[in-house]
């Protein structure tokens, strides 16, 4: 009878000094790699921050005359620059998430990630490292953009800044997880670009980032009703709404008829946890690393 191979091979693990990696430590290393790579590719900074900032400046100037948001009894209007600022912040988070996950497509097949995939680590550790790295980068870039808020009538307190940073981090984790789940399934970067155009950009566009959620009335068209519905169920709507409230706790927020802040936090947290779980499940459940 044939002997089973496992019975005959002595385990020489000790003499070889085989060790087990701590998954958390491995995640931190992988996140650090993301940050290090980013710092060494200057063009990525320009890509993720440049375009949203240019949009903000151009749209603010262009829409300034046409956009009026009456701010209740105090009679003060909000400029488009103010309205669009939180939306631009979220766009920067989205762009950073896209840039840091698009590299997965090639990295996994013919790059550094190949060696991560054959390392004795749970898959979530790799997913967390990649996503946390991308999210930290997004928060840093969002923070840089936040400096421009000094040109707006926004009052910053330490507590407010902490809340903004926390909301940015949650949203970045969620968006990077979403990018991860999409990129992991992709065969080519072209495919990712297509998804970005037809899914990720509309996701942002219909979040109240660029125009407010329309209020419904008796003469609303079906299209407006549809749009309203989509914006209500889009989790990003609540992140943008939360950002609006954190930045402008006065009249602008009340004029927009935004959902309560607690609800904004809750939806953002749930969506982030859900997205991260989907990313982990995507990376674990598939054996698509093959040709």
């Amino acid at each position: 009878m044939m002997q089973r191979p496992e019975d005959t091979i002595p385990d020489r693990g000790e003499s070889h000094g085989w060790t087990t990696a701590c998954p958390w430590r491995a995640s931190i290393t992988l996140a650090w790699r993301e940050i290090l790579r980013f710092l060494r590719q200057g063009s990525r900074v320009v890509g993720a921050i440049g375009q949203p900032v240019i949009f903000w400046i151009f749209f603010s100037a262009g829409f300034d005359r046409n956009f009026r948001l009456e701010a209740g009894s105090e009679g003060q209007g909000a400029s488009f620059a103010e309205y669009y600022f939180p939306g631009t912040l979220v766009l920067i988070l989205l762009f950073t998430a896209i840039f840091s996950t698009i590299s997965l497509i090639e990295d996994r097949r013919e790059g550094f990630l190949q060696s991560v995939l054959v390392a004795p680590l749970p898959r979530w550790s790799m997913v967390l490292g990649k996503i946390a790295g991308g999210a930290v980068l997004a928060v840093i870039q969002g923070g840089l953009f936040l400096l421009l808020a000094l040109t707006l009538p926004v009052e910053f307190t330490f507590w407010k800044l902490m809340q903004i940073a926390a909301l940015m981090l949650l949203a970045s984790l969620g968006l990077t997880s979403l990018g991860f789940a999409i990129a992991w399934r992709m065969e080519s970067t072209q495919g990712f670009h297509a998804i970005m155009t037809v899914f990720l950009m509309p996701l942002w566009l219909l979040s109240g980032a660029f125009f407010p959620v329309p209020s419904l009335s008796a003469d609303s068209t079906w299209l407006q009703i549809g749009l309203y519905g989509i914006m209500q169920v889009n989790p990003l709507t609540y992140t943008v709404a939360g950002m609006h409230q954190l930045l402008y706790d006065g009249p602008l927020s009340s004029a927009l008829d935004l959902p309560p802040m607690v609800f904004c936090w809750l939806v953002t947290i749930v969506a982030t946890v859900l997205m991260f779980s989907i990313a982990c499940w995507t990376a674990t459940g598939s054996s698509r690393a093959g040709p």
Binding site: M1, M2, Q3, R4, P5, E6, D7, T8, I9, D11, R12, G13, H16, G17, W18, T19, T20, A21, C22, R25, A26, T29, L30, R33, L36, R37, R40, Q41, R109, E110, G111, F112, L113, Q114, S115, V116, L117, V118, A119, P120, L121, S287, A289, G290, P291
Partner: protein, 317 residues
């Protein structure tokens, strides 16, 4: 009864991509401490086998034990014990040599003094000590492959798997690579398993498995494989090869084949038969070649077609 423990023990392994069979009913044992080459043209199934053994792909059917641990149930145990060197670079080009190694070490839980010591050993041995602070994007192909080897050996695996390791290397770098692999086998008893499509490279291995269209067609020591050919090979180009083949077979009682428009047969005394063939059929022969048996002859003998032919290329993975 077979009591020899195998480094890799594959039984009845079949793998499909959709309808296409990439590996068909493969049974193969690789012994500990041997240098083993998996040889075949593109699309023969060797990359699929590499990906299965390196735990990148899931097994569909059959059983595979690597260093006594079963795939996929004990994947983590396997991963801890094997080193993998990929065909496409797995280095982060934006990071330095040292950073690449440190990041690899983190994946295997190697740190502190052990890391410093192993890193130093490997860099010294691979002639990379003065490159530690250089970004890998600035290194030559040969040096990059050495860093890949250092990455693969950092956790001191007992089995090193390499996918087409000499692709893109100049002859000097190839020699270095083989010298290092032989050193690993001889000094550290590391089992080295590599895939290759280069016939001359495979000859340096202790044993060769030749694959064609997902099937194992030959398995033995290089010399034994060549000896199995039965002598020198004679290849003849001439008009109407089918008739010529028949005429030669009838006259000299040899088994001749027509391969790619050439008549081909083997004979223990090539020089003598060549002269006799020339004498008999000089008017029908355009050229005639006498060759010592090569691995390509083995491949032709086992598959009935040349090493590089359409059937294989079409199925490239």
């Amino acid at each position: 009864m077979n009591t020899t423990p195998s480094a890799i023990d594959i039984r009845d392994l079949t793998h499909r991509y959709g309808l296409r069979v990439a590996l068909a009913d493969l049974t193969l044992q690789i012994e500990p401490g041997e240098m083993f080459a998996i040889l075949g043209p593109n699309g023969c199934g060797k990359t699929t086998l590499f990906r299965l053994l390196s735990t990148l792909m899931r097994l569909q059917s059959g059983s595979v034990y690597v260093l006594g641990k079963q795939l996929p149930q004990q994947s983590d145990e396997v991963r801890r014990r094997i080193g993998v060197v990929f065909q496409s670079p797995s280095l982060d080009r934006k990071l330095t040599v040292g950073e690449n190694l440190r990041f690899q070490a983190a994946l295997y839980g190697i740190r502190g003094r052990a890391l410093v010591q192993r890193q130093q050993e490997l860099l010294d041995h691979l002639g990379l000590a003065d490159r530690i602070h250089e970004r890998t994007e600035h290194l030559s192909g040969g040096l990059r492959r050495r860093v890949e080897l250092a990455k693969g050996m950092l956790h001191r695996p007992s089995l090193l798997l390499l996918d087409e390791p000499s692709t893109g290397l100049d002859p000097g770098a190839r020699t270095d690579l083989w010298r290092y692999l032989e050193w690993l086998r001889d000094e550290h008893q590391v089992t080295v398993v590599l895939t290759t499509h280069l016939l001359d490279e495979a000859e340096r291995a202790d044993r060769i498995a030749i694959f064609s269209q997902g099937r194992l067609v030959a398995l033995d020591h290089p010399e034994a494989l060549k000896a199995s050919i039965g002598g020198d090979s004679i290849t003849i180009r001439g008009q109407d090869p089918a008739t010529l083949r028949q005429a030669i077979a009838d006259r000299f009682q040899v088994t001749a084949k027509v391969i790619d428009g050439h008549v081909r047969f083997e004979h223990p005394d090539g020089a003598q038969i060549l002269a006799r063939v020339m004498e008999a059929f000089s008017d029908r022969i355009q050229s005639i070649t006498l060759g010592r048996p090569s691995l390509e002859d083995v491949f032709i003998d086992k598959t009935g077609h040349r090493f590089w032919s359409h059937g294989e290329d079409d199925a490239a993975t």
